[in-house]
Symmetry: C2
């Protein structure tokens, strides 16, 4: 596609934060990376690292879901991203992590000691450029999120979130309208800059309006994608 040495990250992970995917990396480079990684399992709710910890490792999500977040001194929390299988986390310029990471579900990670990871970046041709591509995607997602946080209404935020989750679960290509929501309402709230109550009320309103159906708390069916898309895009539709 666009690069000769590295498979592209393509549209992957465009709308959700967390540095994504080493896969796509040239086979020999990827296998080289694998040799310096250590497997590690994280129970539900456990912390991988906290903001301010010395940044001694880079991690890749093998399976499970993580949240990245930042805190204010009085406890207010902003989740900056949800990370799924394939995403990288822990890359940093400075000596400390600038955000915390916790497991939303049980998760399996691959851990790469930082010094070795950095050496690899210097030695493996194309790795730096690959990481650059992947980081640009993150930055792009972050900018979308700034627009959401700064300018969208609660309903627009929820609609954007649902569509993002749906897109992310349709990597295969299908147009599945059943979305699995692995995180709790508080996590969603802290990701969208709302309270958990507002998240509930907005979801309930979408249910009442027949836009979505929810067989269980963690499962949502998108019944009217068109309306969700209008909302998410911010058409300021009357309907809501």
């Amino acid at each position: 596609m666009m690069y000769s040495q590295l498979a592209p990250v393509a549209g992957r992970s465009r709308n959700f934060p967390g540095i994504s995917a080493l896969n796509g990396l040239r086979a020999d480079a990827a296998s080289h990376l694998a040799t310096i990684g250590f497997s590690q399992n994280i129970p539900v709710g456990e912390t991988v690292f906290s903001e301010g910890d010395r940044a001694e490792n880079v991690y890749e999500v093998v399976w499970g879901v993580l949240r990245l977040y930042k805190l204010l001194p009085d406890g207010r929390r902003q989740i900056t991203g949800f990370l799924f299988s394939g995403h990288l986390l822990g890359l940093a310029n400075g000596g400390s992590y600038t955000y915390g990471a916790e497991a939303i579900t049980e998760a399996s990670l691959r851990r790469y000691p930082r010094a070795r990871f950095e050496r690899m970046v210097d030695e493996v041709p194309g790795l730096a450029k690959h990481l650059l591509t992947v980081t640009f995607n993150e930055l792009h997602a972050a900018q979308d999120q700034m627009l959401l946080l700064g300018r969208k209404s609660a309903a627009e935020k929820i609609a954007s979130f649902l569509l993002n989750m749906a897109e992310r679960q349709n990597r295969n290509g299908g147009r599945m309208d059943y979305v699995h929501i692995p995180m709790g309402r508080s996590d969603i709230a802290d990701y969208l800059g709302l309270t958990k109550e507002t998240v509930c009320k907005t979801l309930s309103k979408l249910k009442r309006d027949g836009v979505i159906v929810s067989p269980s708390v963690s499962r949502i069916e998108l019944r009217n994608r068109g309306q969700l898309e209008e909302l998410a895009a911010g058409e300021r539709g009357e309907t809501f």
Copy 2:
């Protein structure tokens, strides 16, 4: 300076978006880059490129101030960053810019045709890694901004903004308490996720409380940095 091949970006631009600084790049690489750049001046208020335009160039700010922004269909705007001298813009993975760029003051840019810029990334040793460092700084700033947009009050947002502007003007090291504000109130509002009226009222309150003094609209003196810092950090101080 600090790296063998690449001068560091150090603490530069940690808190303001926009990819920063080619300077710091090894001299021969920098001069190589210079040979493929074209100078270009932009009048106040003019557009450099719009969201959705084909991404044909990468730019570096030589002097002046730019704003990067995203729009919703009904006109709501989120400014994702202010760019000053040394910052890069226009880097993108896809074929189109994902944000617009306009001149806040008259500005001078150096334009690099994209194809040549990308070729350079492949050919100049260390350039990809340098851009990676710089992009991580952007991502970090974006995450700080998400925390601000999602969780800080108007007063906390303004305090954070003022301190960032001050820091950015003190690259030399001095602890100058006079901050020059090149952008208008609407720009500040769209950067902080507020309205221009709220920006005004919050600034006025800070003036009344003696925290800042404002000899003119575009000049603000920080009289009580400690209180601003508490506010910006989100201590939930009574005082405000």
